[in-house]
């Protein structure tokens, strides 16, 4: 019933079928579709609003790569931002000195008990830890038996059940046993509770204070809708969570809750549950999750490939020109563009001889996006003649260019100076017979565009 983002945007944007940068109007229409797609994927509304604002800022003015459509370009921008927000690379559990306590929390029925057993099995098998599990769930009928059964299946020890004990007493006994018997990890399963249930949240806080967990995991269901924000926020505020496990990803829900929970708590999603069996636990992959939330299909790969090809062609061309000591403002404009789009100079410079040594440094450099955008605007306000022969740009032209680009004459001057320095450098490179020799250990190449600076 719900279409993926790619189809939605195709309808809106591909009618335009034109080249050039994405305009504010194109992006505005696309953003409306993105908003709906995210909401249908159950990303919570406040999170959607932030996301859309953010993507707008990134997309307006973005050049559409050759061989991809505007829709595909937007999808790629959305995808990259989603991946970034979902949390970069995968994070494992951080277990301190043994016995490290892992506290499992969450709403009723979210999958805490099952995940407890899965995690125990994972730690025993993969990390060769000795794990003890204990259930503090004295409320749901047969909850402790459920964990005991699962532990047996996992080949993990579970704390003996003593009828009549309350959660705190069980926690104390579990900790005691874990210390005495030298367990590496103690995983505590707890009763499901509503975040608004004051009494039970207080109980959980008391357990936390007693056991001082190394990890407090929120177990959340991937089918969750808008409520994910309230739940995650309250658990984090009241108990303080260190990570999230997202269960039931074996279903067909888009799982927008992943983004909601992550955005609200800032905590990493450490694992995902992909089935009812004990081996059905996997590390979290932000890339996969992003594609799942918005069903972006192959578009992302397509755009990446197009970007690669273009980057390569363009870099080769620039390298040839640079090697000949030729480098006008058109070239600078293209270079700025690539820097902005591809997030680094490395692509271009890698084509030049002797540059490998510098790569690390250049990769580590950061972009000042706004500055680059302004510089592009300045060059865009020039005539082709001016771009090819910057030496003709005198006072009145400078004023016109500044006015046209919404910048100042000083900024125009700074750019022109920058360009002159780059040209000078290239001439010397040509004489010296290679860029690497010239730069040596001196650090950053003098000709880096001003928006790029080491940090």
């Amino acid at each position: 019933m719900f279409e993926g983002l790619t189809q939605r945007l195709t309808g809106v944007l591909d009618r335009l079928r034109r080249r050039g940068a994405l305009s504010e109007r194109d992006v505005e229409e696309a953003l409306r579709e993105i908003r709906v797609a995210l909401l249908e994927a159950d990303v919570a509304l406040p999170v959607v609003k932030d996301f859309v604002r953010d993507v707008r800022a990134r997309a307006v003015g973005q050049e559409v790569l050759r061989s991809v459509t505007p829709a595909q370009m937007v999808v790629k921008i959305v995808h990259d931002r989603l991946v970034e927000l979902l949390g970069g690379r995968n994070e494992d559990l951080r277990l301190g000195a043994p016995p490290a306590v892992v506290l499992m929390t969450g709403l009723q029925g979210s999958g805490k008990t099952t995940t407890t057993a899965k995690l125990a099995r994972h730690l025993e098998k993969r990390a060769r830890k000795r794990v003890l599990v204990a259930s503090l769930d004295t409320r749901r009928p047969a909850a402790r038996e459920q964990l005991a059964t699962l532990a047996r299946q996992a080949g993990v020890e579970s704390l003996a059940i003593v009828p009549g004990e309350d959660a705190l007493a069980i926690a104390r006994r579990a900790l005691e046993r874990a210390r005495r018997a030298g367990f590496d990890v103690l995983i505590l399963d707890t009763a499901g509770r509503l975040h608004v249930d004051e009494e039970l949240m207080a109980e959980l806080a008391a357990v936390r204070d007693l056991v001082r967990p190394a990890e407090t995991l929120l177990v959340a269901d991937a089918l969750t809708g808008q409520d994910a924000v309230q739940v995650a926020r309250t658990f984090d505020e009241r108990i303080g969570i260190t990570g999230v496990v997202l269960t039931r990803l074996d279903g067909d829900a888009r799982g927008g809750a992943a983004l909601s929970v992550r955005a609200v708590t800032g905590r990493p999603i450490k694992f995902v549950g992909v089935g009812e069996k004990l081996e059905d636990l996997q590390p979290f992959h932000p890339e996969r999750m992003a594609s799942r939330i918005l069903d972006m299909g192959d578009v992302v790969t397509l755009v990446e490939r197009a970007a690669e090809t273009l980057e390569k062609e363009e870099a080769e061309r620039l390298a040839r020109r640079m090697a000949r000591g030729r480098f006008d403002l058109e070239d600078l404009r293209k270079q700025l563009d690539q820097v902005r789009r591809l997030g680094g100079m490395s692509g271009i410079l890698a084509q030049l001889p002797g540059i490998a040594r510098l790569r690390k440094q250049i990769d580590a450099s950061r972009l000042d996006e706004k500055l680059i955008v302004r510089q592009c605007a300045i060059i865009d306000s020039m005539t082709p003649e001016e771009r090819r022969h910057p030496e003709i740009i005198h006072a009145s032209r400078k004023r016109r260019i500044a006015a046209g680009s919404g910048t100042t004459v000083q900024e125009v001057n700074r750019l022109l100076k920058q360009h002159r320095e780059m040209q000078k450098m290239l001439k010397r490179v040509k004489k010296a017979g290679g860029l690497g020799k010239l730069l040596g250990a001196a650090g950053m190449p003098p000709g880096l565009p001003p928006g790029v600076r080491p940090h």
Binding site: M1, L45, G111, P141, A143, Q146, Q226, Q230, G251, A253
Partner: protein, 316 residues
């Protein structure tokens, strides 16, 4: 009907704890405002935040735009209007679950995705039936999940209902057959069949449910007389897929919405009512044996919009 009011009061109280943002706006409800884009957007957002889905939320606020744009009104009035329209939609699905005493037993199959509250709902239903007259028998056909049988047995003890059980891993359909035979023998009025939670996109597991139905029909071609799909109120738009698939594969006859005692409002039910028109029989409002209430369209709609209880609790 003090029970109704009590439930509503509780629901209301919990819901208002929900959205402090919305709650803070309650004071502004009586302020007169012009119906403009901003106000309409606020209302649309309130509906989306309740999980109603963009389509339904937009349609309702667009109707407000057509009928009220530019007028000066109190915000409360607008919310009342919206609640009225939603009540109309939901009124069609507000239908009690009736047990036919001549069937002996009236067979109710309870299905749903994992962890939604099937077993608990069966416990609560059994309690309710036993109090009203019909004698229930429970069948523990979740032979898959660890300690699922023990969980239902504990509920059986709590509400004084016999529970038919099998060995863990036993064939669920075979056990359902046995349970129906036994319920007949014992002259029970209702047979409540618990099943393992299953995601609707798992074909093998859905086939297993279909098999339970087939086997029951060998004994009683009309059975199961009701098939209840239990939905968790925290579920978002995936509820659409759940209802569509369960309905198609096991002929769901009605819904139960659980966990409305949290901050989730279950707004997706409105969209479901429009799309499928399946009766909603009950709502779950807690983990206790008493925490099951008949579904009330008006109360549900007003709670969605953060409005007070209706002056008069609707009669059943």
């Amino acid at each position: 009907m003090s029970g109704e009011r009590g439930w509503f009061g509780r629901l209301r109280e919990r819901l208002s704890r929900t959205s402090r943002a919305l709650g803070a706006r309650l004071g502004a409800l009586v302020r007169r405002r012009r119906v403009d884009d901003e106000l309409l957007e606020e209302l649309e957002e309130a509906l989306i935040l309740a999980d109603m889905g963009v389509e339904t939320a937009t349609r309702l606020t667009e109707r407000l735009r057509r009928e009220r744009f530019g007028r000066e009104v109190e915000e409360r009035e607008l919310r009342e209007t919206l609640a009225g329209w939603i009540t109309e939609i939901l009124a069609r699905v507000e239908r009690p679950l009736t047990v036919d005493p001549t069937r002996r037993p009236h067979v109710i199959l309870v299905v749903g995705v994992n962890g939604t509250g099937k077993t608990t709902t069966i416990g609560k239903l059994a309690h309710r039936f036993a109090a009203e007259g019909p004698r229930p028998v429970l069948a523990a056909c979740d032979t898959f999940r660890a300690a699922a049988v023990e969980q239902l047995v504990a509920w059986g003890e709590r509400v004084g209902a016999p529970v038919v059980t099998g060995r863990p891993g036993a064939d669920a359909a075979g056990l359902a057959y046995e349970a129906l035979q036994r319920a007949r023998r014992e002259g029970a009025d209702v047979l409540l069949i618990d099943t393992a939670g299953r995601l609707h996109n798992k074909k093998a597991l859905m086939d297993e449910l279909a098999k339970i139905r087939r086997v029951l029909k060998k004994l009683d071609p009309e059975a199961p007389h009701d098939t209840l799909l239990v939905l968790d109120a925290t579920t978002g738009q995936n509820a659409h897929a759940q209802v569509a698939t369960f309905r198609e594969l096991v002929e769901v006859t009605g819904l139960v919405v659980t966990k409305l005692d949290g901050t989730a409002k279950g707004g997706v039910v409105v969209a479901l009512a429009e799309r499928f028109g399946l009766p909603v029989h009950f709502v779950g409002v807690g983990e206790g044996v008493e925490d099951l209430r008949p579904f009330r369209a008006g109360a549900f709609a007003r709670a969605l919009l953060d409005l007070d209880a209706p002056a008069e609790a609707p009669a059943s």
